[in-house]
């Protein structure tokens, strides 16, 4: 249109050719988008209830759960001062951290045991450092008995003003606070939280002096400060602050302090073992790969990531078993379901409805009932063994073990998942006109040749759909393996359930779940590459 109106540069012509315009000169694409926007909005509104429901009840919780596989704020939140003090410590030299770390630990634990979160941290650390949880439990009980008066006494002896709330107010008002007094500031915060938990909201912390741990932290801060810095406090224009530090300057290096290291060593030997400190240091970042490492039977040691000892490896074996059993179950579903689906598709409508009801019958029964029925059938004193003994196929001593092992899981799960194979197969077979087979036979093909060359290839989309359904369902199956799997027939999902509800190691459960999810997605992707996902038909 624009090309015909005015003489335009070739550039404009070519552009107008590529973007067609409407009558009023708007680009056609934009007009179309505008015209469709209303409909799109309406469509979106129609699905929004489901969308919101899915996001709120499915996507967000699962996302949160998966995030737990790497989330690790607990160390940082419970031992903030210790984590900060440990930043100077090199875990590779196999030396214990210095006294300032122990002071920070005492301070952090004082608050943690007050709000009762130290055992939780102990359990978390115990996943990576077996035995450490008892160290934390013991310390929580002993922490109140720690001797923490030395630093305070020393400071007050030099400068009595340190025993007044005003001294602390002055300190908090200084420009150097909190940057120059990191340990003290952290300890002061801990103390305020402790005080609030201990005494409630009635007391005003500004009217009190903090407990001994905070004085110990102050001494550590001062001792780490260059002498010139303290000198600058003394000579500063802030006279209140100068007064506080005048008598301290020069005596800092010799100030006695509380010996928390020795006291902790007395509470539990664990505190003077470098590996415990290495574990704390390793787990102090807020994001961790430790759950994922544990999920694949590895751990991070001083030498880097290594495999766990043979007798502690369980998850890889469980993953392999889960995938292997799921494949076996999928294959047996194909073998058993294919003839049934064929029968269904080729019977008269009345008869096929009857068979379809039989296929769907298990859906009307509780999963637990079905699984329990298999227990009754398969157990050593059960129906099948009794029949075999009666028929003299086996003797009393040779009763088959078919339950509480892999066999039980395969049999019960094949039965439970069979309809998921039959239904897609059936709906695909239903669409295959009988004339295909007739055509093949009229051209000279024998029954089996006509089946394999003509009928079977046309059912492959159904096999694909059924296999994906059955495989994905079985890879995450939990109830049946739990009930009939014994020890050799349980799946990875049973382990996940164990960590969710018994060991409460949700991080590990989340990591295992994430790996399972990735496995399913990877298999799905592989299937798409090999067979093509368009080739999946549900009817």
């Amino acid at each position: 249109m624009s090309a015909s109106t005015t003489p335009v540069s070739p550039n404009t012509v070519s552009r107008s050719d590529s973007t067609p315009l409407t009558q009023d000169g708007q680009p056609l694409k934009r007009s179309l988008a505008k015209a469709l926007r209303r409909e799109k909005l309406r469509a979106l509104m129609l699905i929004s209830p489901l969308l919101i429901f899915i996001i709120v009840s499915f996507v967000l919780p699962i996302g949160d759960m998966l995030f737990r596989s790497v989330e690790n704020n607990i160390v940082r939140d419970t031992l903030p001062g210790t984590v900060r003090a440990l930043s100077d410590w090199d875990p590779t030299v196999d030396e214990l951290p210095d006294e300032s770390v122990y002071a920070a630990l005492a301070d952090d634990l004082m608050l943690a045991q007050e709000v009762k979160i130290h055992t939780r941290l102990g359990s978390r650390l115990n996943y990576d450092q077996p035995g450490i949880s008892s160290v934390f439990r013991k310390s929580g009980r002993a922490i109140k008995r720690l001797d923490n008066e030395a630093a305070m006494a020393a400071l007050v002896a030099l400068e009595p003003a340190w025993n007044t709330p005003q001294a602390w107010a002055t300190l908090r008002d200084m420009k150097a606070w909190p940057a120059q007094f990191p340990a003290t500031a952290q300890s002061y915060r801990n103390w305020m939280a402790w005080l609030k938990s201990e005494e409630g909201d009635d007391v005003d912390p500004t009217q009190l002096v903090p407990h001994g741990f905070t004085y110990a932290a102050l001494v550590h801060d001062l001792q780490k400060m260059p002498a010139a810095k303290i000198e600058s406090f003394v000579t500063s224009t802030n006279t209140d602050a100068a007064a506080l530090f005048t008598n301290l300057a020069g005596n800092i290096a010799d100030l006695p302090n509380d010996d928390f290291k020795a006291q902790f060593a007395k509470i539990d030997k664990g505190w003077v073992q470098a590996d415990n400190w290495q574990a704390i240091k390793r787990l102090s970042p807020s994001i961790t790969d430790s759950y994922f490492l544990a999920s694949i039977d590895t751990e991070r040691t001083a030498e880097g990531i290594t495999q766990k000892p043979e007798n502690e490896r369980i998850y890889l074996r469980l993953f392999v078993r889960t995938i292997f059993l799921s494949m076996v179950i999928t294959c047996s579903c194909i073998l058993l379901g294919y003839p049934v689906a064929y029968l269904l598709a080729n019977l008269s409508v009345r008869a096929s409805n009857m068979v379809l009801i039989l296929v769907l019958l298990p859906f009307w029964t509780s999963l637990l009932v079905r699984t329990s029925a298999w227990k009754v059938l398969l157990q050593q004193q059960g129906v099948i063994n009794d029949l075999l003994v009666w028929a003299r196929v086996i003797d009393e001593a040779g009763r088959l073990v078919m339950i509480n092992n892999m066999t039980g899981t395969i049999i019960a799960m094949t039965h439970i998942l069979l309809p998921f194979m039959i239904l897609p197969l059936y709906s695909v077979m239903k669409t295959i006109a009988p004339s295909y087979m007739r055509a093949a036979k009229s051209m000279g093909a024998s029954d089996s040749l006509a089946f394999w060359r003509v009928y079977f290839p046309n059912t492959v989309p159904g096999i694909g759909a059924g296999s994906i359904l059955v495989f994905i369902l079985s890879i995450g199956y939990y109830i049946t393996p739990e009930l009939v799997g014994g020890t050799s027939g349980v799946f990875i999902s049973n382990r996940i359930a164990y960590h969710i509800s018994s060991s409460l190691n949700w991080g590990l459960a989340a990591a295992l779940g994430s790996i399972l999810l990735l496995l399913v997605l990877a298999l799905y992707w592989t299937y798409d590459r090999i067979v093509g996902i368009d080739n999946v038909k549900l009817g």
Partner: protein
């Protein structure tokens, strides 16, 4: 049989002879779908089984192909009984209603399938596939999947596949049913030409009379499991043997009455409202019996110039202009659906609705047949 004779002259006959000998078929053991079928098909003949749905024509085809066993009687292929021969050993090419092209194979693979089964070498196979595809003018489509072809193209592939292994007999089960009218007409000629050039026997099932009349050497009109008439197309139209055939093939006016006299192949019939008409006695029981006269609409003359055997008056109810002819609905002798077709000769004067006109026709065009209730 004249058409068959013509076919034998033009091409070497390689077609198979088929004979149905007292064949009966019942699915449920209560009703007979095919009642005592006797049919001879000569080598190279094109025979169409025509009839309404449920008349048993497809069942006959399926029995011939071997997909349905005959309940009674014997079918012979080239004088050999084939009741116990499985379909794959009958060597019959077949075109199915919805083509039954294998969707997972390309067109060429579809065509090569019967050749592979016959264990032909690859080069021979390719040559035959190419020849068959060229025959249906689809040489460039060998690599396509059936789903990528139009309905007409799929139909041609189905025909090519039925012929590629050189069968002596080809069965076609309503192969053009899914095509639109224009394509259907075109395919009718193509199938006819292929048949003529190859000389195979064809048994063709359809419910479309135009298809049957266009293509066949002989047409077997089926109703209720019985062949009502087996004739070349012209005989079927010109001299129907009974009222069903007369009605089923082409358009037809019915006038019912009683036979009042019979004179050789002529008879007089007195219609229920009194009019006496001269007709050709084709299928009547004798004087006093009831009969229905069948009369083609184009054989009736409006305001006849010559003296005709039958002259009646009719009132024009409706006039439809159809280009090449006028179609006039009239009320004649109590029949309000009496159709008259007047060819458009150029100087046509359109009859006026509501007016009464004289109509005339010869006695030979009025066939006295069995009564229709």
């Amino acid at each position: 049989m004249s058409a068959t004779a013509k076919a034998t002259v033009t091409t070497p006959v390689r077609g198979a002879a088929v004979r149905f000998d007292h064949v009966q078929k019942s699915y449920d053991g209560v009703t007979l779908v095919v009642k005592d079928l006797n049919l001879d098909i000569a080598p190279g003949e094109f025979v169409t089984m025509l009839g309404p749905s449920g008349s048993g024509k497809t069942t006959c085809l399926m029995m011939l192909a071997g997909f349905e066993p005959a309940t009674h009687g014997e079918i012979y292929l080239n004088d050999k009984p084939i009741n116990n021969v499985p379909p794959r050993k009958r060597g019959i090419g077949m075109v199915f209603q919805n083509y039954a092209l294998f969707p997972h194979m390309s067109v060429a693979e579809n065509l090569a399938f019967p050749l592979e089964i016959r264990k032909l070498g690859k080069s021979e196979r390719d040559a035959k596939v190419k020849r068959a595809l060229d025959m249906v003018e689809l040489g460039a489509f060998g690599n396509r999947r059936p789903a990528q072809l139009s309905g007409g193209q799929q139909q041609r592939v189905a025909v090519a596949r039925a012929l590629v292994f050189d069968p002596d007999l080809v069965l076609m089960d309503e192969p053009l049913g899914a095509l639109d009218k224009q394509l259907r007409e075109q395919m009718q000629y193509e199938i006819k030409h292929i048949h003529e050039s190859l000389g195979v026997s064809v048994v063709y099932v359809t419910h479309d009379q135009t298809e049957a009349l266009t293509m066949s050497d002989r047409v077997a009109v089926f109703q209720d499991g019985v062949i009502q008439q087996l004739s070349p197309p012209d005989a079927l139209y010109e001299s129907p043997q009974n009222s069903f055939v007369a009605q089923f093939i082409g358009e037809n006016n019915k006038l019912s009455g009683k036979v009042t006299s019979v004179n050789g192949d002529r008879c007089t019939i007195t219609l229920d409202e009194g009019t006496v008409l001269q007709a050709e006695a084709v299928n009547i029981d004798g004087v006093g019996s009831r009969s229905t006269i069948s009369l083609r609409p184009e054989r009736i003359e409006l305001e006849p110039a010559l003296d005709r055997d039958n002259i009646v008056e009719g009132k024009v109810l409706e006039v439809l202009y159809l280009g090449d002819h006028l179609r006039i609905v009239m009320s004649v002798a109590g029949n309000n659906e009496f159709i008259v077709k007047v060819p458009n000769g150029g100087r046509l004067t359109t009859p006026v609705e509501g007016e009464v006109y004289k109509l005339g026709w010869s006695a030979v065009d009025a066939k006295a047949l069995d009564p229709v209730t």
